[in-house]
């Protein structure tokens, strides 16, 4: 693996490669690719907006795939001629991640399938959801899914591709759980997310390994490094992880279990995601990276074995499915297995057949799902034991379904016929060793026979086989004629390809194969694959007859087979998965509860103990705690104040059960600390400490008005002692640590700040310059946190109503009887105080840049003065007179601060660079203007808004007559 440092190679290398591509004739840079990718997401909101006009909604949803289809057709001739269209934009070059798109024949084929089948599915869904409100939500999700799918097939950068890969898993989860109120849907969705999401992780690992070996995540680079990758020692790992990724997505054995359970999704989803597109994403990726993996022996054995297993299991189980969609799901699994198997062979001809069959499968499976969905909707059931003899009720449906069913079974002159022929020819040709030469064709014929069997069952059972039994919706309602339109289109395509397979083979499939092989010219001679020549093949017809006979035999013996199947113990993967999941969830909840049980004491003791463990060891290692710096002399006043401080702090701990008194002591402690800061020449800290102290006590008292007045006695006796010991040890530890740090000389960054404060920040108050300039980004983060905290308080208290809460006896006792709510003296005194306080606040704010003060302190003073009005005159009075709500104030503050920062970008300086200059004005004299002041204004507004939002909302809680409007 490459060392991390090598990652830095990506950007330059990418640019180089792009340059060289552009100069070559076969590649072209094309913006249309980006448009194709973004179209679905651009149209995504339209159906949601137009949800009350179903016709307009479906038309808007159809527009995106229709335009994409048209654009692709425009590009198709060039692409089929071997040209590769590219789009490139560096996203995060340091990670090798780029918005990089590529359209070659392979991508174009898939994109055409995605958009083309998308059109028919959206059209069909409009009729499927007719009369229900679900359609707009479905359209929005399907457009999102379409974009994800297009992203997978168009990505040139593998990391970029992975984003879309995960997106398909997630949207598939949402779509399977479309009817989230049904348990079966939720469980199916969870199972599928678990399997495909896990596969996505494996694929991520494989891609990262490949990227680190090759040194780029660009497809063109990786495809060119076949030899390097295959000879690398981790190649088996890459291959294994890659295969897990694609097999989970493409529902290969043993990961196929999620697909049948995904059938609880609405039928348009099954038709689109779970037969035509998403499950083909794995196949696509195998084709995309075909040049890297094919030819490796491991690849051949694993892919062929898994593909065969899937083909047989899928086609065998399908026969037993009584659920129509279950049958189709297993049939999809078997066809996916077939394609995988062909890819495993590694020969050009097999790849051709795989591509050919992939197209065919999409064309005959989608209409079958639509048929199943229509019947399900009409009859109210999909159970093949109940649905019989519908040919007399829906003759057109029978005719239109016959064609795709027959194509699936491989009847002559239909597309499936040709691909089955080719498959059997391949199975005879590609083996080399002895026993495989017999086994593979034999199994291939067996699989083909099974598939004939379930195809017959699906058709005969649905449309003939006696009369309907116990249908919930009886008499059967008519099916809208529009539903037949997509069915007819698909049937026509099946017929067309059946009659003229060579056109598709030569015009589309061969360029695709060429692209999949990395634009190497094809060496195989495809002329023997022409239909006319295949028809004359001596034993192919015999084999074909054999498979039909086998299928018929299986179907005739169905009663005995069903009886045998019913006698088997039922194992439901979903139930097993669900019980495992429940077990896992229960265990994790237990684990979480051990750590996080809602007890604040416990969290604090975890934190303190962790800190103790991590600091005590290095502290113990010190030779001596005291460093070499001389100690300051101790004067009597400081010592006395210190002792008082300790007494106060201990009193808080001792008296903590009487909450109000403990609050008073907290206040006294804060006051003493303020004096301490002033004594040791930190006026800024003194101001800040004091303002914060006052506001904090204010808020705590507000909370105290609806909390119990005393804390309950600790029930467990030893706990108090334990906590006392831990707290003492931790306190002494912190003291020792600070002592050790402060008595040692050290190179501190403060010298830099002191030296650069005036020349760099234009302010002589270093603390403020640090806050608004040197560390402006920190401050921006901090005020954002403050704003979030205030909004959280707002959200929590918004719908909380404590009014009507009658005061407890405890309260009344503390009140000393009745008192006026708004005493006259207080009211009269409070009002003139506001302008004075605002003046102080403005003074502190303005001089903050050069002398102690600043936006934060000024904000707290303003908030304190405003809250005095609330206290003295009542929330109603004050709220009517507040001209602004608090949330806009917070928002404005953050905006001012953020925009000031962004402003420096305009002048080509880094974010939050400040600017200052000195000006002369006639009366005022020389003064300074600094952008830092503007930033400080943002801080001020945020602080005022946040504090008031918290205060006013907490005050409102206990107010019986609220202000009449929301305080926000």
């Amino acid at each position: 693996m490459a060392p991390p440092g090598q990652m830095a190679v990506f950007p330059s290398r990418n640019r180089l490669l792009i340059g060289s591509w552009l100069t070559s004739v076969r590649t072209r840079f094309d913006m249309t690719l980006l448009l194709i990718l973004l179209l679905p997401i651009l149209f995504l909101p339209a159906p949601l907006v137009l949800r009350h006009a179903p016709r307009a909604a479906v038309v808007s949803a159809l527009l995106a795939p229709a335009i994409i289809f048209y654009l692709l057709l425009q590009l198709l001739p060039a692409v089929l001629a071997g040209q590769v269209l590219l789009f490139h934009y560096d996203w995060i070059p340091a990670l090798g991640l780029a918005v990089s798109l590529r359209l070659d024949a392979l991508a174009a084929l898939f994109a055409l399938l995605i958009s083309g089948i998308g059109i028919s599915v959206i059209f069909y869904a409009h009729h499927y959801f007719a009369g229900k409100p679900d359609a707009p939500r479905f359209f929005a999700m399907i457009l999102g899914f379409m974009m994800a799918m297009l992203g997978i097939v168009l990505s040139e950068n593998l990391l970029f591709m992975l984003v879309f890969w995960e997106m398909t898993s997630l949207i598939s989860f949402l779509l399977i759980g479309f009817y989230g109120q049904k348990q079966i849907s939720r469980r199916g969705a969870r199972l599928s997310l678990f399997i495909t999401g896990g596969g996505g992780l494996a694929l991520l690992a494989a891609i990262l390994l490949m990227g680190s070996i090759v040194g780029s995540f660009q497809l063109s680079d990786i495809l060119a490094e076949r030899a390097l990758l295959q000879q690398h020692s981790v190649f088996p790992w890459i291959l294994g992880l890659f295969l897990v990724g694609v097999f989970t997505k493409s529902a290969q054995f043993p990961f196929h279990l999620w697909l049948p359970h995904a059938m609880s999704a609405p039928t348009p989803v099954s038709a689109y995601l779970h037969s035509a597109t998403m499950v083909k994403a794995g196949i696509f990726l195998m084709m995309r990276l075909y040049p890297v993996f094919s030819g490796a022996e491991v690849w051949f054995y694993w892919v062929v074995a898994i593909g065969f297993m899937t083909l047989l299991v899928g086609s065998f189980v399908a026969i037993f499915m009584h659920d129509m969609k279950g049958l189709l799901a297993y049939s999809t699994i078997s066809h996916l297995g077939l394609i995988t198997l062909l890819l495993g062979y590694g020969s050009e001809a097999a790849l051709t057949v795989a591509v050919f069959h992939l197209i065919n499968h999409a064309l005959f499976k989608a209409p079958l799902f639509m048929m199943a969905g229509s019947i399900d909707k009409a009859a109210g059931t999909r159970d093949l034991r109940q649905i019989n003899g519908l040919a007399w009720h829906y003759p057109w449906l029978a005719v239109l379904s016959f064609i795709p069913t027959a194509a699936m079974a491989g009847l002559p002159y239909l597309n499936g016929y040709f691909s089955k022929k080719l498959f059997i020819v391949e199975s005879f040709q590609s083996t080399d060793s002895g026993w495989l030469a017999v086994l593979i064709p034999a199994l291939a014929i067996l699989g083909a026979a099974f598939s004939v069997g379930y195809a017959i069952r699906l058709f005969h059972n649905t449309f003939f086989n006696g009369k309907p039994r116990d249908i919930p919706n009886w008499p059967l309602p008519a099916i809208s004629g529009w539903v037949y339109l997509p069915l007819a289109c698909f049937a026509a395509l099946c017929l067309w390809i059946g009659f003229w397979p060579e056109v598709l083979l030569h015009q589309l499939v061969q360029p695709v194969v060429q692209a999949a092989q990395g634009n190497v010219a094809l060496t195989t001679d495809f002329s023997p694959y022409d239909l006319a020549i295949l028809q004359q093949h001596p034993w192919l017809t015999t084999i074909s007859m054999l498979t039909f006979a086998g299928g018929l035999a299986v179907y005739s013996a169905r009663k005995a087979l069903f009886a045998w199947h019913a006698a088997l113990p039922t194992v439901d993967a979903k139930d097993i998965f669900e019980s495992r999941m429940q077990w896992l969830i229960a265990r994790s909840q237990q684990g979480v509860h051990l750590v996080e049980n809602g007890s604040l004491q416990r969290y604090v003791i975890y934190l303190v103990l962790t800190a103790l463990v991590f600091t005590s060891w290095p502290l113990w290692q010190l030779q001596q705690w005291r460093g070499e710096l001389a100690l300051m002399p101790v004067d009597a006043m400081s010592a006395g104040a210190l002792i008082l401080l300790m007494v106060m702090a201990i009193s808080v701990a001792v008296l903590h059960r009487q909450r109000l008194i403990a609050l008073l002591f907290t206040g006294a402690t804060g006051l003493l600390i303020t004096v301490g800061f002033a004594r040791f020449s930190a006026p800024d800290l003194a101001l800040t400490q004091f303002s914060v102290e006052v506001m904090a006590i204010f808020i705590m008292m507000l909370a105290l008005s609806f909390l119990p007045q005393s804390s309950p006695q600790e029930k467990v006796r030893y706990r108090a002692k334990r906590d006392a010991v831990v707290a003492t040890v931790a306190g002494i530890g912190v003291a020792v640590l600070s002592f050790a740090v402060m008595t040692r000389p050290q190179q501190s960054i403060s010298d830099y700040f002191l030296a650069n404060s005036v020349p760099g920040g234009g302010g002589s108050n270093v603390v403020n310059v640090i806050l608004v300039d040197f560390r402006g980004f920190d401050t921006l983060g901090e005020i954002a946190v403050l704003a979030i905290a205030a909004l959280a308080v707002f959200a929590l208290t918004r719908n909380l109503r404590l009014k009507g809460h009658s005061p407890s006896a405890e309260h009344i006792d503390a009140w000393h009887g009745y008192a006026q709510p708004y005493p006259l003296i207080l009211r009269t005194l409070a009002r003139p105080l506001l302008p004075m306080a605002l003046l102080v606040s403005a003074y502190i704010f303005l001089r903050g840049h050069n002398l102690p003060g600043g936006g934060f302190i000024a904000g707290l003073i303003t908030a304190a003065a405003l809250s005095l009005q609330y206290v003295a005159c009542g929330i109603r009075w004050a709220q009517v007179r507040m001209l602004t709500q608090f949330r806009p104030l917070i928002g404005a503050g953050l905006l001012i601060a953020g925009l000031t920062g962004l402003g420096s970008l305009l002048f080509d300086h880094p974010f939050l660079t400040s600017w200052f200059s000195y000006f002369e004005l006639p009366v005022i004299g020389k003064f300074e203007l600094a952008t830092a002041l503007l930033f400080d204004l943002g801080v001020y507004a945020t602080v005022v808004g946040s504090t008031m939002l918290i205060l006013a909302n907490m005050g409102r809680l206990m107010t019986i007559h609220g202000p009449g409007k929301e305080i926000g």
Binding site: L644, V647, L664, A668, P683, L833, I857, A865, G874, G955
Partner: protein, 89 residues
């Protein structure tokens, strides 16, 4: 001369603070305690101003101003809590 006066004043205010703290600790009533806290704040203003005079700097005076302003607000809040059991209504 001024220095001595300041020192004596400091000592006296320190003694006053001690007495306030005693009241704060002893009580006996919550009203005594609130009164003690308010007086404590006033004494601290004096201490800060005196320290400023002693250090020959006026940088600490804002702190005194602030304590004067905010100390009043917190006393109001405390008394109101005592009277009504609720700060804002």
């Amino acid at each position: 001369m001024l220095t001595y006066a300041v020192y004596i004043a400091l000592l006296l205010f320190a003694a006053a603070i001690l007495l306030c703290l005693y009241r704060l600790l002893r009580g006996p009533d919550i009203v005594d305690r609130i009164l003690a806290l308010d007086t404590l704040a006033i004494n601290l203003i004096a201490i800060i101003v005196l320290t400023g005079i002693l250090m020959g700097s006026n940088i600490l005076f804002e702190a005194a101003l602030l304590i004067a302003l905010m100390g009043f607000i917190s006393t109001v809040a405390l008394t109101r809590y005592l009277l009504r059991g609720d700060l804002i209504e």
